[in-house]
Symmetry: C2
Subunit: 307 residues, 2 copies
Amino acid sequence: MSILIVGTVAFDAIETPFGKTDKIIGGAATYICLSSSFFTKNLNLVSVVGEDFPNSAIEMLKNHNVCIKGLQIKKGEKTFFWSGRYHNDMNTRDTLDTQLNVLESFNPVVPEEYKECNFLMLGNLMPLVQKKVLDQMKKRPKLIVLDTMNFWMDNFLEDLLDSLKEVDVLTINDEEARQLSGEYSLVKAAKVILEMGPKYLIIKKGEHGALLFNDKEVFFAPALPLEDVFDPTGAGDSFAGGFIGYLEKTDDISFENMKRAVIHGSAMASFCVEKFGTKKLEELTDEDVEKRLQEFVDLVQFDISLV
Amino acid sequence: MSILIVGTVAFDAIETPFGKTDKIIGGAATYICLSSSFFTKNLNLVSVVGEDFPNSAIEMLKNHNVCIKGLQIKKGEKTFFWSGRYHNDMNTRDTLDTQLNVLESFNPVVPEEYKECNFLMLGNLMPLVQKKVLDQMKKRPKLIVLDTMNFWMDNFLEDLLDSLKEVDVLTINDEEARQLSGEYSLVKAAKVILEMGPKYLIIKKGEHGALLFNDKEVFFAPALPLEDVFDPTGAGDSFAGGFIGYLEKTDDISFENMKRAVIHGSAMASFCVEKFGTKKLEELTDEDVEKRLQEFVDLVQFDISLV
């Protein structure tokens, strides 16, 4: 039992209405790993960084039970860098700078001992890179989750559609679900997208929560209403990490258990946004997570006796 | 045990991306009454219409157990008319025409037998008119719910703030909560608004659900994900009607029961938007309502055993 996580490990520089960071540690896989680590110790990472990536950050990942044997460190090259500025609503942002660096020629190599992982999390990356990882697996994982974004829909739609045929769960946001399906109604969008291959679709609506669809059922998890959202970066990845981490821990991929996994994902996302970058996830305790889960229970549970 | 409902009874003409209506029956109180009528038979209406208001519509209200003794019918005058066009997102709209007509000089008169109602629903109206109703009550109702909108905040804020001191539950949408409080975060907005008088605040977020706050707790009810939203007109009023109707029926104003009431309100709102105007609420059966409530249970209930 273990998870293979593929995605970016990167530097970010972030501006929000609450402040501004220098270069800090970011990347989809970083958030996914940190978030998953609260539920499972069997974390394997495939990613790439440059020589400039600090040892302290690699140690931090190792301290969170992440095996970094699949993390390529490219001599003489630089780590992927993204810089963005969030608007006042915290839902929209401008990209200020993107330096692909090591990502440009990233050829993922899955170490032998990862090739039989039960859970595969394909974090947001070029669809062809995600596919290359899929193709290296020795046996089909029990659950494959793929995260993607509008950029790949705009520019590599064919590749993305190819990968979608092979995954179990697709996670995208509401605008991306509309773009991918051509339907405005998310219910209709889900129907169209589930025809493309995935058995489950998670539509992330940021501060408005998340929807989990299969071909018959739908489940809704709210976002926790927070006094302040400091930095939304990594919220979706933290969600994915909590989701797959909980599924691996419980080894149960029924729809009922996926509901619980979505709540765990939402709890992790709610932490992520409370501080800049990965700071909150790094300092979190198991007790914090338990307490937050109870807040979700209190937020949505009600008792109606129906005849 | 009974409810007094005050609000507009009106003509609407509506355009949405799905079509266009001629003059149809609308008005906040109409939706509130219809929606409440699925939970209680003790409905009393205070409102005003003109001579042009059709008898058939008055009969329709009576058939839904609405006592219309407090409905003034003004000879030689015309009924309030509103016309609007919804944008593609169905969340924003342009007002095309507003003819106040009988509303301009509306002086609400509460019939003697209504003056001891236990539940008072002050639908969206000029704050001074809402206040005049409050002042006519012989004893303080067990629960006073007030609905309002940004127009009154822009133009009659002092009057509104006066009324807020006397109500138990305020219902507004997210933008209005931000405007009234001066806070962007809805959690912070709720704190500010609860200081203004209401013991409970319901923030309606349209397709994103509704939040119920008191000074210590928060509850979230989703909107039902629908394939098509035909016409959002009256959704907020249908919500209010289901909310107060359920509270009257159960005669329990605890926070736990208010959660259930919010779910009932959300269920009624989800029906309202499925057809133009009041059509769906008029044809609805009790079985439809039970079934919809079960859909809400299925949509949000999950079972996490926490230590």
